[in-house]
Amino acid sequence: MRRKFKFFESTVQVSKKLIILFAIFMIFALLALIKSVSPYMTPSQVKSLEKAYEIKVIGKVEDVKIDGEKVVFYLADEKNKIKVVYRGSLNAEEVVVVGDWDGNVFHAKQVLTKCHTRYGD
């Protein structure tokens, strides 16, 4: 079974089987995409940026140090970690930080804590 399409003033014939296969694959791809998107970036992605403003980054908190009224810590994923400076207190293992990245340090304006129960507290 061949089907005809009008395209660029020319006739395109594509076999029906191929079209069906293509469509099934695209539905699969769409589902994979929906599963893979999130509004948060990872420290590895941030590290590769030169500068970024108003971004949300998710990661695990490491090496917390208190410096006056500032908290300095590292936000890590499996591969990389970034240095975060935040004015305020911090009391969680996994957080989302919101703020600006200057290429070396992330300046957090806000630190969002994820729900504790999910991590078996």
Partner: protein
């Protein structure tokens, strides 16, 4: 007006005259107009080249009155990097793209057969070049400060590598070449050789970029599935589909050109967060070019083709998968898993088809298989460890021992080098503290063996201990070998067309 701008304007005006004259010659079927057009085109090329030389001269003479020079250079930078800084930014890279477009158009015009088909292709090609030149003029690199800063801001340190001197010019030469198959198919000409050349340069540019990313920390290995990297794959895949198809070529020539422009738009408009993204406006002019190309294609591509073969279908599926990922990343963060679940199966399928069916271009196909094998091995089996060497640590049978720290200084930076001994080799990772611009860069120290790459980065240091990231990367060498085979294979096939004989 700044002299560089005057030259750009002259170049722009004469390229417009050239396009118009070509068009009149085409309509009136009169070669006299074409001669004028040709001369105008050469004049445009010369003045564009002159403005490029002036920009290089400004960089070499540290003319920080020019904003573009100020933002991408400083006094004590190495001369080679001062030259490469010409195309390190948005405006300068547009200028070399214009220059290459005019150069390719001029070569095409002067070596052509000078019949009506040739005239039509020349008109389109010159038109495209002059449009890119228009965008360059609007976003000119010759913007002048009202005062002269004493020193420049400096080039981003991670761009100060050998690969980054070559990567942008190669990519933009490829982009300029991609307009040729499109223009030729508009007038029903066979553009196979130009398509092969476009493919060669695109491959070379992408491979160089991957190699650079691998050697520079934090960019996620040789391929990070970053939206800008992915958009550079779009024209590469469509020119590949072009070379694999017989009857749908005009469509893929059109698609390649559109994807070149789209990739530029995505990079420049800053709509996605990416290491490549330049911040700034002006991207919309590129979208207009896509619309114009589509109208032109719709009215002129008349070739009858009776089907996409299954190879083109796979390339098309890859393209759609990438497009979906790229557009989603405007609003969301797309995890690399998406590409692992969608792109890699298609890549695997194409490798199976190569093994079953490929009888031509063996070297290139072998290269593709090697890249696949290497990529799977790296993405599936790479191991990373965060280690504190106080003074030593052991990973499987490798013992790393921190031995000493060494401090030095040169014109650009302050360098901390640590010496780490192991039973494999001595690692000497460094942390560079650049002064202009102030930036800390951790250099990667890689010890390569045929089977494994040992990749070491120093994260923190003190007199007693160092913190390092240590990775064992299996079979990355296959990726580089595959890239090399593809480039060599395309060169062989280009030479074959000229009568040279090769067994592969």
């Amino acid at each position: 007006m700044e002299v560089g701008n005057v030259l750009l304007l002259l170049s722009l005006i004469s390229s417009f005259i050239s396009t118009t004259m070509f068009f009149i010659a085409l309509k009136k079927k009169n070669s006299k107009y074409a001669e004028t057009a040709e001369i105008a085109l050469y004049f445009s090329l010369s003045s564009c080249f002159a403005s490029l030389l002036i920009l290089i001269y400004y960089f070499l003479t540290d003319n920080f009155l020019i904003e573009y020079v100020y933002s991408h250079s400083h006094k004590t930078m190495n001369v080679l990097y001062k030259i490469s800084a010409v195309w390190a930014g948005k405006e300068g890279s547009l200028l070399i793209w214009s220059f290459f477009s005019l150069l390719i158009a001029s070569l095409f015009v002067s070596y052509g057969k000078k019949d009506l088909e040739w005239l039509k292709a020349s008109t389109v090609l010159t038109g495209i070049a002059s449009y890119i030149l228009l965008i360059t003029f609007l976003e000119s690199p010759f913007h002048v400060f009202s005062f002269k800063p004493s020193d420049g801001f400096g080039l981003n340190p991670i761009l100060r590598t050998f690969e980054m001197i070559l990567h942008p010019p190669i990519i933009f030469l490829a982009y300029a070449l991609a307009a040729v198959p499109f223009s030729m198919h508009i007038s029903n000409l066979n553009a196979e050789r130009f398509a092969k050349m476009t493919f060669l340069l695109l491959s070379l540019g992408i491979f160089l970029g991957g190699f650079w990313a691998y050697k520079t920390l934090g960019w996620g290995g040789f391929w990070a599935w970053d939206p800008v990297e992915n958009s550079s794959l779009l024209p590469w895949l469509s020119i590949l589909a072009y070379l694999h198809s017989k009857k749908a070529r005009s469509f893929f020539a059109y698609l390649t050109f559109v994807f070149v422009i789209l990739a530029t738009y995505i990079t420049r408009s800053g709509i996605v967060q990416s290491p490549h993204a330049f911040v700034g406006a002006g991207g919309e002019l590129f979208l207009l070019l896509i619309v114009a190309a589509t109208v032109l294609a719709y009215r002129n591509l008349k070739t009858n083709f009776d089907g996409f073969c299954y190879t083109s279908q796979i390339f098309l599926a890859m393209i759609v998968v990438l497009l979906m990922g790229i557009f989603s990343s405007i609003f969301y963060n797309v995890s690399v898993n998406y590409y692992y679940f969608t792109f890699l199966p298609l890549f695997a399928l194409s490798v199976i088809l190569i093994l079953l069916k490929a009888r031509r271009a063996i070297l290139i196909h072998l290269g593709a298989i090697l890249i696949f094998a290497g990529a799977i091995s790296v993405w599936g089996f790479e191991k990373s460890y965060d280690l504190t060497l106080n003074p030593s640590a052991k990973v499987s049978d490798i013992e790393l021992r921190f031995s000493s720290l060494n401090f030095s200084e040169d014109d650009e930076k302050f360098v901390v080098r640590s010496k780490i001994e192991s039973n494999l080799a001595v690692f000497e990772p460094e942390i560079h503290f650049y002064r202009k611009p102030e930036k800390v860069v951790q250099t990667v120290n890689i010890v390569s063996t045929p089977l494994f790459d040992y990749y070491l980065v120093m994260e923190q240091f003190s007199n007693e201990f160092v913190k390092v990231k240590f990775s064992i990367i299996p079979l990355i060498s296959l990726v580089w070998l595959g890239c090399f085979f593809i480039v060599l294979g395309v060169v062989f096939r280009l030479l074959k067309n000229r009568g040279y004989k090769f067994i592969i």
